[in-house]
Subunit: 257 residues, 2 copies
DNA sequence: AAGTGGTCTAGACCACGAG
DNA sequence: TCGTGGTCTAGACCACTTC
């Protein structure tokens, strides 16, 4: 039987189990009931239980090994994809007050890197936006985002004081489904320095991100630069599911922008 | 029917499909055959096909949407967990020549942070090791690793010129299954500066990592500092599987070591 | 309306861990 | 040896996309 509306059974179950784990019902290092038992308790088949547990496994909430009950891992800080893709939602989930303002915005031709990342022809019309992001009033990040023409038109039509662009896009039916992030170091250029109120040349944590919609079509390509000490990125990976990659840096250093 | 020995059918299938995709059989943006068709072609059930496709989905190789065939995403650079957990294997997979040497090593009492990360009592005996890692002879990373007593004993018994500690541990039956990584910025202390031949205070990309065995028992806690421009970390995440987390930096800055 | 992926079930056998 | 998770099957219905 499938679900009638929004949330699948296995997601509900995963949420329930996650809550139990976080509430310490099994204790750190404790053992979950067997799949069989969970199936019985929750009135679903073992297959559905396994789907739920696979989620928790990927999140690093529990282990899994043949022959042994699943063990509770360290309390994880799990964030939803939505919170990851949106600075605003992330900040809110932390209880911080997000702020943001558009510093500059212009239509222009995509350079080689941008065209490649957005899967457009070189020279295609794109909207480039420079934003300053704040947390509790403090400037923490400079964001340079490029949108393909269709998306850019929507972004351009949003009120200039829109805090969450993501939510603005969603309201127009543009959903985000996939993101690739690359993390490394960069140094503050004059714009960064001015906006973040730090000397030029200050080292910053750089996140370059390409986000796509459910079709696989790129929706944005962004380079975000965080002041040191304001954020850290964490990744969980396991034999079962690998999402992190470490790569040799062949960076098209600064000159590309 | 289960498999008789090592590799599950769905993993073989995933590997085959991944190879096809990378070989450009479907073309970027192309569409995969339907699950039904794949099941038929490969002589397995739809369930098995779906397991294989779930792997590729998590890797960011293909999309998936109800109602439409799966679409090939950008060529991904997928790394195995083994390559992520071992500097040596990572380097080899890139065709680079990894090097490494133990600079210092000592048994000592775990400080608060170390005990917490390794899930030990404060003051427990741990082995602390300082290593310099090189790539093609160039120093690229300084690694400070702490091992719980049992693991440390093994590490201590390895020949001092052992290039891959991970492989040494595996030879003794210690397997790695899970890792949590935290990425942010740090600044070179005098040791870093000397080893990496850069001025003290140079910004470095810092990776703090806790690796666990299949039981969930922490095996190592490490702080690695990379010279800027030598590596970048990439993460893929999606609505389906989220592994990346962005968190507020509450760093126990430098003084903890 | 037809095709496709998403969800769910019920049952089977296997491989591994622990007693 | 027994309990547990890992793998696989066969079939069902649903929700969404596309025509």
């Amino acid at each position: 039987m499938a679900n009638s509306q929004g949330t699948a059974r296995y997601r509900q179950l995963a949420a329930a189990l996650r809550a139990d784990v976080l509430a310490g019902v099994y204790g750190e290092g404790g053992r979950l009931p067997s799949e069989e038992a969970l199936a019985e308790t929750h009135g679903v088949s073992r297959g559905t239980v396994r789907q739920a547990l696979a989620l928790l496994r990927a999140e690093g909430v529990v282990t899994s090994r043949r022959g042994t009950r699943r063990v509770v891992l360290e309390q994880p800080r799990v964030q939803s994809f939505a919170e990851l893709s949106s600075f605003t939602r992330w900040a809110r989930s932390l209880g911080e007050e997000p702020g943001g303002s558009v510093v500059a915005s212009e239509w222009r031709a995509a350079d080689a890197v941008e065209a490649d990342r957005l899967r457009l022809a070189p020279g295609a019309r794109v909207l480039w936006v420079l934003r300053l992001r704040t947390l509790g009033g403090e400037p923490v990040m400079v964001e340079r985002t490029v949108y393909p023409e269709a998306v850019g038109a929507l972004v351009d039509s949003l009120p200039p004081d829109t805090v969450s662009v993501t939510e603005g896009l969603e309201a127009h039916g543009i959903l985000l489904a996939d993101a690739d992030h690359t993390l490394d170091l960069a140094f503050a250029d004059p714009d960064d320095a001015r906006l973040l109120t730090c000397p030029a040349g200050t080292p910053l944590l750089r996140e370059r991100r390409r986000t796509s919609d459910p079709t696989g079509l790129p929706v944005e390509w962004s380079e975000d630069r965080y002041r040191a000490g304001t954020v850290a990125f964490t990744v969980h990976n396991s034999l079962a599911s690998t999402a992190l990659t470490r790569m040799r840096d062949t960076s098209d250093q600064e000159q590309s922008r």
